[in-house]
Assembly symmetry: C2
Homo-oligomer: 275 residues x 2
């Protein structure tokens, strides 16, 4: 099963001609705008979703993937509720090593440009009644039907103690994050409303997005612009130009601090683009 030769040396970058990875530059230079840190990106993905894929080990050591709903402990550790009637539940009783992958549910471009994060670690049961109550509440909040089967004797709550976090934000955006950085990362107040805002901008404000691309991101030759991401600091745009497709970002005047912050922030952006 395993390659018997010495571990191969892997390349450190894509093995390709440089021009294969080149995208059109802005025609007017622009200051790069602030982004969330990789810790904040990882935390935001886990924050706004409730469905994940779980990797465990089958009795023969084979990696086994399954789907779970998860809740979140106060430090962002996922908590799941699984039955030993299911293979993943039996796997965890035998071996608690696991990883959980959360991916962006809604796609606004190439699915490979969507965010996803792997949290790898070791599952454990709640240490006492108090932590069990927190875990139960977290699971029911994420998946109300857990209130029914959470009490069944074949179900166990498992909390993932995170060892490693790997965030992939899309093409060319990725980083490893420490467990401490992940737990300490500030939550983005607009993360839960971002998907709705992106859809609304693309469906109803394509003209404003084009103005933003032309006048605030340096792509003065843009012919169309689509929003692909939105966070407290700004929006990401995919921009069509006669020179090819480009990927850029427009920063807000001030970071959003409230759950409803994306609407005023994008209105200000559009106004500034037209000034």
């Amino acid at each position: 099963m395993t390659d018997a030769t010495a571990a191969p040396a892997f390349p450190k970058d894509h093995v390709a001609a440089p021009e294969a990875l080149r995208f059109p530059d802005p025609l007017v230079p622009v200051e790069p705008s602030r982004t969330r840190t990789p810790d904040e990106e990882a935390r935001a993905l886990v924050q706004v979703h409730t469905v994940a894929s779980l990797s465990t080990l089958s009795d023969d050591g084979h990696p086994w993937g399954s789907i779970v709903t998860y809740g979140q402990m106060p430090d962002g550790s996922p908590v799941i509720l699984v039955s030993t009637l299911a293979e993943h539940g039996r796997n965890l009783v035998r071996d608690q090593r696991a990883s959980i992958v959360v991916q962006q549910a809604e796609s606004f471009g190439d699915p490979l440009d969507n965010g996803r994060v792997t949290l790898a670690g070791v599952m454990r049961e709640p240490v006492d009644e108090e932590e069990l109550a927190v875990a139960q509440a977290a699971v029911v909040k994420a998946s109300p039907s857990a209130a029914l089967y959470g009490g069944f004797g074949d179900f166990t709550h498992w909390i993932l103690d995170i060892d490693r976090v790997r965030w992939v934000g899309g093409f060319g955006r990725m980083d490893s994050v420490t467990a401490e950085g992940y737990a300490a990362a500030e939550l983005d107040p607009v993360a839960p409303s971002a998907a709705y805002a992106i859809r609304h901008l693309n469906e109803d404000h394509a003209d404003a997005l084009l103005d933003i691309a032309k006048n605030l991101t340096g792509y003065t030759d843009a012919t169309a612009a689509k929003c692909t991401r939105a966070d407290r600091y700004g929006i990401d745009l995919t921009v069509e130009t006669p020179r090819g497709t480009a990927y850029t970002r427009a920063g807000f005047a001030e970071p959003c601090t409230e759950p409803g912050g994306l609407r005023p922030a994008t209105v200000e952006l559009a106004r500034r683009a037209r000034a």
Copy 2:
């Protein structure tokens, strides 16, 4: 890491009072209507999606989850294209054991009632130029950007030779499927259009769904009905009654044989419900 005691005996069914799992029965007995086989359900899930989660083994044997796009070989085996710049790519060079999970992308009810399938097996590279060409075409069809980076030297095509298939269709619907059964399963011509049809039925034809629930599934006391699944043989409904929520199914007069078959089949169903 691993529990040192003997393998625990797991229960064979939910450990719960029987009434916790009881749903209201139809008031008028109805013949059960035909469903897809578990092989066909598994194959249909893989057929209509292009994004999956991949479980591989890290160098320390830890299960590692990641997100991939996949294409399909003619027998339904997934084929992926991954870089050794990524952990999953390095994992597969070292150990080819893997599993792939495909889940229903769009949710029409409780996410835990969505379909998902785990395909477990061993990854291998295409055996010759001819198979490589088929794999390349399958990957590009699923993810057009693969045409760009598919030629990079750090990317490898891997085909999953399937050993085990585990299908979970939602609450109480699940089965194991043999690799042979999966490969031989007939594709459902309406699978690619099912999500659109379900959305359309729920948004624009709630009255027809209620008539179908009342007059064709025996829930004569239904007060609302929502479509949660559609396939060549019929539609699944979640039905509200004064006695609680029930889950039922209405079968088509004839199985659909064409990609556009859901529209005439559901029109006939609604007409029959009102006859």
